[in-house]
Every structure is written in structure tokens, then in C-alpha cells.
């Protein structure tokens, strides 16, 4: 049995959102993914949300049940296991790995992984350049040759200080100041971050492929989230990737946790995912953490 990608849906903040909602974006993407799969939601048993930046910085409950409540076919189900998994941009790959375990043991029949981020208060946040967007991926157990062949994660903690984001209390302010008193998100990104992410990813890719007795020439398609910006360009040069073999979702820069899913959507839509014999998913995030997945068709 292999865990195969069944469908992908996406949602973008539009004018109808006065302030984009991460919950609504994820729910809209989920509906789009269900529509694209052409199947109903009756056998979705697992819902994992990997979005980090959310409406009002809600910390309880997990966002997943709040999103599930807005996905009409799942809203009244009482047997779906939903929770949040957070690991920055790498969250989506980690969630695929977790879903793979539940599908392989038969504990779930189909699973949906969601990612969406919004800046809950752009007037107060610093260093957080998000483009509000959401993505949903439906994965299912398949008997064919298509599916995930393996996962790999590595951390390079000597670079842990290159990106950090926190929510801090800024102190009381007069209520007439726009944004009012309260908390604010600050993301601090050091200049060398994109460069180091590319170097760490190149190292991880070499380890991963070597362990599977593969070379970079065996990879037909690379789905690499371009986060941080400029990461993919550097990675392409470092790994000597073939021109045209990389799909990065560059046009949606700033989508953060949704970015790998948006690259996947692009590859699925163009038919390249199904055509490629080996597809390598590449994500790099704070830590520096690199998460990879190998997908075979």
C-alpha cells in the first residue's frame, strides 16, 4: 500500500474578506480539494492543519476543529480526528508522513492536510510578510505504484537563530492609536537565512538520495517551496538541478505553510506529478529544518 495524493484545492484572500481569515481560507481550500477529488467526504477520517499564523492568534482549541466546522460535508461528522501540527514551512511534509502512518495501519481511510496563514494584525506585526492563502491536500491509501516512497527530516541547529518569530506583549497603549493596545508578532530573519537553507537542503537531499541508492539525475521533478524567497534559485544552483525540473510556486511567494501545497497544485494541474517517475518534495524552515519526501508515480 502507498499513500497517494488524490487532489489539491486552494483558496486566496479576495475582496470579500474584509480581513482574511485563516479558518475560512483553509475551509474554502478544503471544499475545492473535495470538489477536485470528485468524491464525497464520508471516508475522510483524519484532518491535520499545519497553518501557523491564525485569526486573533487563537491558541485554544486547535484550529483544525474550527476549520472542520466550516467544511459543510465534515461539519457534523463525529468520527473525524482533527488536530494541528506545526513546524513552519515543513509542516505539510510532516503531516503527510503522519497521515501515511494512519493510512498504512488502516486507522484512517482518507486524510486531508490543510495549510493557511494570515497576519492577524498587519498594522502591528514586524517582519511578517504573508500573502493570505490556503491549500488543502487529500491523500488516500492506494494499491498501485503511485504514492510516497519515503520521508526524511534533518535539523541544522547551529542556524537556529537565523529565523525566529514570537508574539509579545507591547505594553498598554492609548485606545485611540490604530491597532490599539496588545500583542504583536515579530519575525526576525537574518540575511544569510536563504543561503543557509539552500546549503542545508542540498546536504539533506544528498543524504536522502544516497540512503535510497538514487542520484539527483533520477529525480524528474522537484517541488520546492520558495520560502524563504530566493531559496529555490540557490538550491537549483547548488544541486545542479535540470532546468525546468523545478516547480516552486514562486508566483505565490509569502504563502508560508501553504507554499509547498501550492507548488504541488501547480504540478498536479499540469499533469507533471503523474508523469514524473520520481518527484522530490523539498521544504526548509526555521531551525534550520529540512523536510523531504520522495513520491513515485
Amino acid at each position: 500500500m502507498r499513500t497517494r495524493i488524490e487532489s489539491v484545492g486552494r483558496a486566496r484572500a479576495t475582496a470579500r474578506f474584509r480581513r482574511a481569515s485563516s479558518i475560512q481560507l483553509a475551509a474554502d481550500a478544503a471544499i475545492a480539494a473535495l470538489d477536485a477529488s470528485g468524491r464525497d467526504a464520508a471516508d475522510i477520517d483524519l484532518l491535520v492543519n499545519v497553518g501557523v499564523y491564525r485569526d486573533q492568534n487563537i491558541c485554544e482549541p486547535a484550529l483544525a476543529p474550527l476549520i472542520q466546522r466550516r467544511i459543510a460535508p465534515l461539519a457534523h461528522r463525529k468520527d473525524v480526528f482533527s488536530f494541528d501540527l506545526n513546524n513552519g514551512t515543513c509542516g505539510l511534509i510532516n503531516a503527510f508522513q503522519v497521515a501515511d502512518a494512519y493510512l498504512r495501519t488502516g486507522s484512517a481511510r482518507r486524510a486531508m492536510v490543510l495549510a493557511s496563514d494570515v497576519d492577524p494584525n498587519p498594522r502591528r506585526s514586524t517582519g511578517l510578510a504573508l500573502q493570505a492563502s490556503g491549500v488543502a491536500v487529500v491523500v488516500a491509501a492506494g494499491d498501485g505504484r503511485e504514492g510516497f516512497l519515503g520521508f526524511h527530516s534533518e535539523t541544522f541547529s547551529k542556524h537556529a537563530n537565523l529565523l525566529e518569530s514570537r508574539l509579545d506583549w507591547l505594553g498598554p497603549r492609548p485606545r485611540w492609536i490604530p491597532g490599539g493596545a496588545g500583542h504583536a508578532i515579530a519575525m526576525r530573519t537574518m540575511e544569510a537565512y536563504a543561503e543557509r537553507c539552500a546549503e542545508c537542503s542540498a546536504t539533506s537531499i544528498a543524504h536522502f538520495l544516497e540512503n535510497r541508492s538514487l542520484g539527483i539525475d533520477d529525480i524528474d521533478l522537484v517541488l520546492a517551496a520558495d520560502a524563504p524567497a530566493g531559496f529555490v534559485r540557490r538550491l537549483t544552483a547548488l544541486c545542479g538541478l535540470r532546468e525546468g525540473s523545478v516547480v516552486s510556486g514562486e508566483e505565490t511567494a509569502g504563502a508560508h505553510t501553504a507554499l509547498p501545497g501550492l507548488a504541488l497544485e501547480s504540478a498536479l494541474k499540469s499533469g507533471r506529478l503523474r508523469e514524473a517517475r520520481h518527484t522530490l518534495f523539498v521544504t526548509a524552515g526555521a531551525g534550520i529544518t529540512v523536510s523531504l519526501a520522495l513520491y513515485g508515480s
Binding site: 503522519v98 527530516s153 508574539l167
Partner: protein, 371 residues
């Protein structure tokens, strides 16, 4: 959608029983906790209320005191200390961990600075020296650690890993501090915030060679139509967080929807309820525990051999760690034998309901040895 919870439970159990088909089984191998030294009595907390509160919280909840962080302690430090405690009782070394999952609701570092990235689990694994294990954070309110155990159980049964750690540090007492500004009556939506205490807990789950021992069932489900009954978010007027809870409704719905989940866990484990020795529920109030016992006894036609575990008096509601704080105490007091069957019942905002059934096995021996 079926309106009959019993029919729902039957339908769900009619699905395949994959646990029996999987090549591997998992077990809880070790538990560790970290409780801050500082105690805060309920009567002292209530005296801080700015509006003379007409609430006898101690009688209402059974909570006499709770532990609270001192300066220099936070979610991360509690989690790291609990993880070390867990490793000190384990046969495994940090390098043996394939996965480390942090499940804190509160992700406070350096006091009350809430960290989004990097993940808390990264800092914990680095502190332990488990650099090359997979790490990520999971949040599922007070069912976070149960969710983490469920993930490790699935990964072990799938053959993906051999050993992992679930850890949580909860520096949650800021919601109690902030609630003292507004709580006045029993109807206050911040009343439940006054029940919380700080703590850290960690658990190692590994592959078991004996299919009869270890984790027999882990069922967790969400009831999203009630997901807005309890919402926690940053406090608008100061540091930390605030939590608004419709406690009575939340309790009613959680108890009302728990039966199919418990039945599913009993069916999967193959244990009738009478053969469970201890049931450890999420610790919110003594009244809720009593009401739950009464309802489940009536619906299931019996109950576990011992009364539901009540660990509220000294620790209060420690959020995602409650089950493991209670389990650790019972192990240290020698109340659990290796053959005992235990069920952890999770009730969390979301609403999330979970039931984890397992045998104590060697955890008891490692605790007795360590103490």
C-alpha cells in the same frame, strides 16, 4: 448522520480492526514530570480577584492548590525538565528517539513570549541531544499529549519508527492571573481559567514485543459543532492569555458525546469496562468527575474496578499534561501494578474526546526503581 450514539459506535467498530492486523504494537515505556516548586492556594488566588467574587472555588472544584511558575520558568523549561525526568527512568537514551513531539498549548519562552517558530520541539530535542530525530509540534488543546501518543502509536504500528517521545510544558497560569480581573460569579466565562496549574510531562512510547501488553486502543475524535465553546487567545490588557469558556455547556456536550468513543476503545481493546482497573479523566473539577462516573456507569451498565482518578486537590487542571501527572503520582505511590489496565479519558476544547487503553507493564517497575 446517525442520531443514535450507540448505532454510531457500532457502525464505527464494524470497520476493520486494523490494530489486530498490524505487525507491531506499541507501549508506554516511561513517564516523567516536572512540577514547579511554588504553590498557590485557591483561597489566595480568589483573594486576588478585583471584584469581590461570590464563588467558593475550592468546594466547587475540589482544587485546594496548584503549582505555578516562578521567574525563570516557562513552558520550554518545564518541558525540558520533564523530558529529562522521563529519560532518567527509561531504558532508552536521547539518541534512540526517532520522533519528538511537543504538545504544549502554551508555547512560552523567556517568560510570556509566545513562540511560533522554530517549533518548541526543536529546542527540546536540542536540549536533550536528540539532534537527528524528527520533531514537530502538535496542538489539540488539553488532548494534546493524547494526540501525540496516538501519532507515535500509529507510526510504530506502521513500522515507520521504533521509539518516540511526547512532551508538554504548560505555563498556563497567566489565564488564571488575567481571570482574577473579571471573575465575579459562578456564571463568569473565565471561571474555568481559575482552575489551572503549571506543569510539564513527558512520555516515551516504543515498540512492544508482546501484543498483549502496551497500548491496546487509542480513539480520538472531534465534535466540531461545539468548537467555539472554549476559546483561548492573547489577553488584550496585559501579557499572557485569556480563556473564555461556556463551562457547563462544554461539560454537558463532552460527557454526552463520550460514550461512542469509550465504546470504540473498549471494543478495539477487547476489554469490557469492568476489566479496566483505573480510569483517569481530564482533571477539571470533582463535580465533573462525579457526574461523568454516574453517566458512564448508567450507560455502560457498570464501570471500572476503582473510582475515577481524582488528582485535582494539589495540582488543579494542568491542561494537556493532566493524565500523565495523575498517572505519575499513582505510579510513585505504588497504586498501580504492572498487570493493571488503565484508560485515559480526554475531554478538551474543540470539542475533542479521546480514550487511550493500555496495560501498565514495565512503567511501574521503572518508577518504583527510580524512587
Amino acid at each position: 448522520m446517525s442520531q443514535n450514539p450507540l448505532a454510531e459506535a457500532r457502525q464505527s467498530t464494524e470497520r476493520s480492526h486494523p490494530r489486530l492486523a498490524n505487525a507491531h504494537t506499541s507501549r508506554i515505556e516511561s513517564i516523567g514530570v516536572r512540577l514547579p516548586e511554588q504553590r498557590l492556594a485557591t483561597k489566595d488566588l480568589m483573594q486576588r480577584c478585583r471584584r469581590a467574587a461570590r464563588v467558593d472555588l475550592e468546594t466547587l472544584t475540589g482544587i485546594r492548590s496548584r503549582r505555578v511558575c516562578r521567574e525563570g520558568e516557562d513552558s520550554l523549561s518545564l518541558a525540558i525538565d520533564a523530558a529529562w525526568d522521563c529519560l532518567s527512568r527509561s531504558r532508552h537514551r536521547a539518541a534512540d528517539l526517532d520522533v519528538l513531539i511537543s504538545c504544549s498549548i502554551t508555547k512560552y519562552v523567556d517568560g510570556l513570549s509566545y513562540r511560533f517558530e522554530p517549533a518548541m520541539s526543536l529546542s527540546i530535542k536540542e536540549a536533550l541531544g536528540a539532534s537527528q530525530c524528527l520533531n514537530f509540534d502538535v496542538t489539540n488543546a488539553c488532548a494534546g499529549m493524547l494526540t501525540g501518543v496516538s501519532i507515535l502509536d500509529a507510526m510504530i504500528r506502521a513500522g515507520s519508527i521504533r521509539c518516540g517521545m511526547v512532551v508538554s510544558g504548560e505555563y498556563i497560569s497567566s489565564i488564571a492571573d488575567n481571570a482574577t480581573r473579571s471573575v465575579r460569579t459562578i456564571a463568569s466565562r473565565q471561571l474555568a481559567s481559575l482552575t489551572v496549574g503549571d506543569s510539564g510531562a513527558a512520555v516515551i512510547v516504543d515498540r512492544s514485543d508482546d501484543p498483549e501488553q502496551g497500548i491496546r486502543a487509542c480513539e480520538i475524535t472531534s465534535i466540531p459543532e461545539h468548537s467555539e465553546l472554549c476559546i483561548g487567545k492573547p489577553f488584550r490588557s496585559g501579557p499572557g492569555a485569556v480563556m473564555h469558556t461556556r463551562a457547563k455547556k462544554l461539560h454537558q456536550e463532552a460527557i454526552g458525546h463520550a460514550l461512542p468513543v469509550i465504546r470504540r476503545a473498549l471494543d478495539r481493546s477487547g476489554w469490557p469496562i469492568e476489566e479496566i482497573d483505573f480510569v483517569i479523566p481530564h482533571q477539571t473539577s470533582v463535580r465533573a468527575i462525579r457526574a461523568g462516573t454516574k453517566r458512564f456507569t448508567a450507560d455502560l451498565g457498570g464501570f471500572a474496578r476503582h473510582d475515577m482518578v481524582n488528582n485535582l486537590e494539589e495540582y488543579g487542571n494542568t491542561a494537556s499534561t493532566t493524565h500523565f501527572i495523575a498517572l505519575d503520582r499513582y505510579l510513585k505511590e505504588g497504586r498501580l501494578r504492572s498487570s493493571d489496565r488503565v484508560m485515559l479519558l480526554g475531554f478538551a476544547s474543540g470539542i475533542v474526546i479521546g480514550a487511550l487503553a493500555f496495560t501498565v507493564g514495565e512503567i511501574g517497575a521503572s518508577h518504583a526503581h527510580a524512587h
